[in-house]
Symmetry: C2
Subunit: 206 residues, 2 copies
């Protein structure tokens, strides 16, 4: 359990890439093996079935993105609102390259399997909700600091994830990240408006 075996890791990596391009159902086991450079025997040695790989891929995705955002520089801001806004800037900066490279594995998978594969759905939900929770802390702190009470931190955190997931769909429909970036801009403006001081009691930024 300590060190990941190479074949297993290569299969998970293949899943990340293939599922994000073709979706889960359209990605075959043979294709995954070929991409990973592994035989079918190795696949079913490491995973009980195709669904188990999907769950493992979702969990690996959680760990990957967890580390990416944990180590991202946006946490350095002292003001929690600045942290939230910098998070959005960071998300926007990730919208580069081809569509499968910046879109979300679990968002893609859960659309296909939510009604048919309960365990995959749960793993995807855990990934999205877990990530939202890291944002929720900063949002809650900002709400306290700025005296904002008209909504819950949890709902705003999930709203940011909704915008991002929806932006990915638009990017897929339109073939590029441009509109996705525009949507993040709208979300950023929303949060600025939510927290703007009503009585213009000066804030210092950065």
């Amino acid at each position: 359990m300590a060190r990941e075996s190479t074949a297993r890791q290569k299969l998970v990596d293949a899943a990340l890439s293939l599922v994000r391009t073709k979706g889960y159902a359209a990605t075959s086991v043979d294709e995954l093996c070929a991409r990973a450079g592994v035989t079918k025997g190795a696949f079913f040695h490491h995973f009980a079935n195709k669904d188990a790989l999907a769950v493992a891929a979702a969990e690996h995705w959680s760990e990957m993105t967890g580390a990416l955002f944990r180590d991202a520089p946006y946490h350095r801001h002292r003001d929690p609102l600045d942290r939230v806004l910098a998070y959005l800037d960071f998300r926007k900066s990730l919208l580069k390259g081809a569509v499968p490279d910046f879109t979300c594995l679990v968002g893609t998978m859960v659309q296909e399997v939510y009604a048919t594969h309960p365990d995959i759905r749960a793993a995807c939900d855990a990934s999205i909700s877990g990530h939202a929770a890291t944002l929720e802390a900063d949002i809650a702190e900002a709400m306290k600091l700025y005296g904002v009470t008209s909504f819950t931190a949890a709902s705003l955190a999930l709203h940011t994830q909704a915008v991002l997931q929806g932006a990915f769909i638009l990017a897929k429909a339109k073939g590029g990240p441009r509109i996705a970036a525009a949507s993040i801009d709208h979300l950023r403006r929303y949060i600025e408006l939510l927290f703007q001081p009503k009585d213009h009691k000066g804030r210092t930024r950065q």
Copy 2:
């Protein structure tokens, strides 16, 4: 061309239901035929292949939703901003029942096929963009009326669609429409904040 043949119509209806629950790739032609109460011969008489049904389903979806929103009562408001806000209220009111019943066919399909089926992707894009365009008119009018210029009407219209699509993903991940509704609330608040008069020059609503 005037009247739709029943078998074709039944197949399109079956596609709407099955694809929204299981996704496109996981829905087989046999399954579509069984649901429609039609034989495979009928299927390939009306559609060249499975992809052609998907395109037809997306087009039918555009017509269906087009009619639904064209006839919806939210157009009655005189103030274009009220129309936009009432549109969101209407969208929120549609979030009832089981997840497959209120989620979006084209948003689901485009996620799976954007990289592999260009014609389906195009049909889905046309559906989303066409619907956004009907909103864009009201938004543009409201921007002119309220003197708002800091973004384009097109980008806000597409942002609303991003929020809705993202809300559907969250609903699928969490198994119910509750968080989706909360996300629409956030979007509504955003638009209210965008158009709120800065100099408090009284507006009459309704």
